[in-house]
Symmetry: C2
Subunit: 332 residues, 2 copies
DNA sequence: ACAACCACGTTAAACGTTGTAAACGACTCT
DNA sequence: AGAGTCGTTTACAACGTTTAACGTGGTTGT
């Protein structure tokens, strides 16, 4: 059915091995021979059989990207960037939705896809079991996002403490004094961002009110909306909110709109991630904007470097550049 | 390195083939033997090698989903659903971003991924070359979304004419008379939805003003925003807009907010797709809501049926159920 | 002339899995 | 006891590719 190497060889009048050499850019080939082979390849519309190749080479040029859910805009945007970055390097990304809790399990259990995959970029949502080791996976792994430092894996992440501190400081700088935080969940992301939030409050000499730190049950719009309702029910509601991601912020804005409150006049809101929705929302959302393309490109590069064999080098920890985007939700 | 079939066989004291039989649920196996083998599998943490398996079987249990871009919320949500639907059936989805124009080319050229893939679910953005035939791909293909009917492929799509007609009629029913359409682009989607839009106008005896049909350059928020600006610059601006997707609508809403116009009082807006953003936007967005889970499940089922061998059956054309969600952008 | 390359060819052996067909018991039936 | 039957297990050959080892003429430089 499908044309194979030997068909190409027959048509080009060369050996199978020579065709293989052409395809794999083996250096010592006459221009003439190469042309003949390439013509045959084109004529027969030959495409190498990935299965056979990866069976033989032990490498597939496939990597996996494990994210909590691809319908979440931040991850969708990130996935798109990573896909692009990988494609530029001739490799294909397989996206795996871990869907919350049993993330790590699923990953290790069926995630390896029977050795088809050369490596994994993993964006954990729950705290990654500290005991997840290289031995468990057998494949190179790059972690995305916060995670208790000192891990044994390559990692690329925003300096969330600093970024959160910046975001909070921005709210303080526009005169807010009662600043709430939404997203203080059980995740490591929540913990790290709270740290930055508290740091900023402390630096400004502001009191720290536990009632203003809401955990919520997740990181979606509905969770942000629910947390915001709780905050509004407080005897003394906040005059600013730092949401640990944009989705939470958009949910919070929805609740504020329903309550007839003006943003930023009554309540200012800052998010984190800079997803596109926020740039078109009314009001537009101020947010921490990580450089997603940079993140994607470096995550892929790091992983490919490991796959290429630099397995022994110490784990690397890259910090993603970010900016604070000031938009309507905080700028009067 | 990795444990293989023969390792398991050695440990269980049976032949390689028997282990294979156990894994593939071959019916005639003693409980005793099966138990032994399964114990060995567990003990060695054996996982089948996908490459070898698919080389041998000619089937990989991988399908591709080709969409314009995964960062677009509708496609992200759809991708998530399709991924889930496929996973339920034990197959894996590989997502391919066609990124606009050369979609079909890319698909056919490198999309087949060297015969790794068993089939494709293809959501074309540009008009699919009518000459794209089964022969080109060699693999089963299911089309998503509008497309000049009478094709030679299985297809699952919303009845866009009817849905667009419903959306427009809804605008008429709330008293609007000057209704614009955004998204009348060069795509088949644009053409089909315009048809429904015009049909509704005609049915209501409303005049059809070409100046109110905007093509724009794409289907993103920015395109919607730009088109809306054009409409507002008209001597006689519209009192309602039907946007051919939610992203356009969200962009339009942004422009309206900037212009200080009230929605729906001054201008009512309806979208298409029912992405989550619209449900949290201020105002919340009225829209046509296709049943994405249904769509995903049926697309996958259709494709798998073809893959399973029902290749000769006539192509099937499934119509996705939808509802009109009336929200703030049209309800006073 | 001699070596040192170069550009290929030939052959064989993997990679890990499954389909085919045949072998092996343990039965039952005469 | 022998032939037939059934259920269970196995040996062997693929699937399409790459790698290795070895060989063969040709070209070039000394």
């Amino acid at each position: 059915m499908a044309t194979r190497l030997s068909d190409v060889a027959a048509r080009a009048g060369v050996s199978v091995k020579t065709v293989s050499n052409v395809i794999n850019d083996y250096p010592h080939i006459t221009a003439r021979t190469r042309a003949k082979v390439e013509a045959a390849i084109a004529a027969l519309d030959y495409r190498p059989n990935v299965s056979a190749r990866s069976l033989r080479k032990g490498r597939s040029d496939f990597i996996a990207l494990a994210i909590p859910e691809m319908a979440s805009p931040y991850f969708a945007e990130l996935g798109a960037e990573i896909s692009r970055a990988a494609k530029r390097r001739g490799i294909t990304v397989l996206i795996d939705q871990t869907e919350g809790g049993a993330a790590a399990e699923k990953l290790v259990l069926d995630g390896m896809r029977g050795q088809l995959i050369d490596g994994i970029i993993f964006s954990p949502i729950t705290t990654v079991p500290a005991k997840l080791t290289v031995a468990d996976t057998g494949k190179p792994l790059v972690l995305l996002g916060e995670r208790p430092a000192g891990g044994q894996f390559d990692r690329v992440a925003v300096d969330s403490v600093q970024a959160s501190c910046d975001a909070t400081t921005h709210l303080i700088s526009i005169g807010r004094r009662r600043i709430a935080a939404i997203g203080v969940g059980g995740t490591s992301t929540g913990a790290v961002r709270r740290k930055g939030y508290r740091k900023a409050l402390k630096a400004a000499g502001l009191p720290h009110d536990p009632a203003l730190e809401l955990a919520g049950t997740g990181y979606h719009r509905e969770d942000g909306a629910a947390s915001m309702r709780e905050l509004l029910a407080l005897p003394e509601p906040p005059d600013a909110i730092f949401c640990f991601n944009d989705l939470l912020a958009l949910g919070a804005l929805r609740t504020l709109a329903d309550a007839g409150l003006r943003v930023p006049d009554d309540v200012a809101v800052v998010g984190f991630d800079d997803i596109e929705d926020g740039r078109y929302h009314s009001p537009t959302l101020s947010t921490i904007s990580p450089d997603k393309a940079w993140l994607a490109d470096n995550a892929v590069a790091l992983l490919l470097d490991r796959i290429a064999g630099n397995g022994e080098a110490a784990h690397r920890d890259l910090t993603v550049p970010y900016t604070l985007q000031i938009r309507e939700s905080t700028a009067g």
